[in-house]
Amino acid sequence: MAVIDPVAIKKDFPIFERPVHGKRLVYLDSASSSQKPRSVIEAMNCYYETTHANVHRGVYEIAERATRRYEAARASVARFIGAASPAEVVFTKNVTEAINLVAYSWGRANLRAGDVVVLTEMEHHANLVPWLALKAERGIELRYIPVTDDGLLDLGRLDETLDGAKLLCVASVSNVLGTINPVTELAAAAHAAGALVLVDGAQQAPHMPTDVSATGCDFFGLTGHKMLGPTGIGALWARRELLEAMPPFLCGGEMIRDVRLDGFSTNDVPWKFEAGTPPIAEAVGLDAAVAYLHGLGMEAVRQHERSLTAYALAALREAHPDLVIHGHPSADRRGGVISFVYKDVHPHDLSQVLDQAGVCVRAGHHCAKPLMRRLGVGATARASFSVYNDESDVDALVAALADADQLFSL
């Protein structure tokens, strides 16, 4: 297996060439959005400079090339996540739109009052609110798999919770705790109970190998800008027969086969779900991002981030015994996400102080307010890693935390 060299990798990301507040940029917010390698930026620029035209329309040369680039990106994403066919990959704006697509299309075609959707207490709002909206609209029942004190899903009553359910929705990796959830086992249990499985893969796809076929899920969403790609593009993967049976979500051009004044028929999948001109340059950028990650090797990426997380957990505990780190104590059970609360310093204030040292961490509820309530906090600070982070970034965080001590005289 290849080994990640973060020092070399950092050189591939132009943003690290610029100081912040006169300091080296220590970017620890990749769970929110990752930085972009030069290859992604150049691929998008090159596309605009040499190729751009609308896709699936023109018969002229550059339109043909644009279409090929766009569909090649779909094929790359399909390979990257282990999909059986590119036809199973629908480009969306992000994972939020991917989940909304499922909730609006599959959900409204298949869920009636009293039908059960199972979620977990650690879901991101993107995997909660679409289902809460459906509950308000349709009267579906929502059940929640609870979270243990050490940040794992409590599967003690799983069979009972899944009994009679139509759908299980779960994040494969928590964006707050970093917890890696056992989605393969969960999918098997859900299928045994007759439920389909939707996996929010926003924090998985950028950080560890993804194989939707092996996982056995039915829907899988990812977001491009968290995986070294541009904003404005993500994807929904779903098994082909599900996509073919689902009614359209957004309607307009491109998603139709025929339109008459009294009706329309839909295009084949996946285009049935891609109304309007899609984000073509963004697809090209995502293709380059997937190529970059594939070049590193996703198993190597995972091992790098696992060992960096283990280093960070140990360094933070040793330097700051008062630090409360949420989630499981072992890096084996978590991705490169560390949420913490530092003494009585509010995470907003902490983040502001760290910023002065060039250290970027997220502060707030991380779009997971129910989980914040479960943890008994209003907010946390969160450091998260990607391929370009190394131990010096963790050291900078540890050192900057001492500045907060000084300012707030704790």
Binding site: H346, D349, Q352, V353, G378, L407, F408
Partner: protein, 168 residues
């Protein structure tokens, strides 16, 4: 680039470490209003006790950063004992101070605040803000303006409610 000393003035940290008027009041006769900052999860509950036209007592609970908590603490001391009209004037004066800088930011939509009314008259200049002037530095950190204005927007909502019903 403004330094942290512009943001974390000593008087602000003092109100943060020793918040004034912390606690609850029985409702009724007091009126309670809760405000949220959806961006960061900060929340504050104000308890406002009127006597006739006067804010006889005010208490607050909630959680948030040093800016939101100290602003709330200072707000409570600024309006306690004031008439409704004086409290309103203080709110306008404070929000005006918080929004001056906003209009100088070129198209930074991330700083817009639905609670602000940019065309409000600046005629409240005669209202002294006292310690609250220390929060002036917050406008150099646009993301934090919402922290500073949370308790003030919540107070405005409470006064709206109270003016809609006869004071006991």
């Amino acid at each position: 680039m403004p330094g942290l000393e512009d943001l974390y003035r000593e008087i602000i940290l003092d109100h943060y470490r020793n918040p004034r008027n912390r606690g609850e009041l029985p409702t009724p006769p007091a009126y309670a209003e809760t405000g949220f900052n959806p961006l960061c999860g900060d929340e504050i509950t104000l308890y406002v006790q009127m006597e006739g036209d006067r804010v006889a007592d005010i208490r607050l609970t909630g959680q948030g950063c040093s800016i939101s908590q100290s602003s709330a603490s200072m707000m409570s001391t600024a309006v306690k004992g004031k008439s409704l009209a004086e409290a309103r004037a203080t709110i306008r004066r404070f929000k005006s101070m918080m929004s001056i800088h906003e209009h100088r930011l070129d198209g930074d939509s991330g700083t817009s605040d639905a609670g602000f009314e940019p065309d409000e008259p600046a005629a409240e200049a005669e209202v002294s803000l006292g310690d609250l002037e220390a929060l002036q530095g917050v406008v150099k950190f646009p993301v934090r303006i919402k922290c500073a204005t949370l308790s003030w927007n919540t107070l405005a909502q409470a006064l709206d409610h109270l003016e809609g019903v006869p004071a006991s």
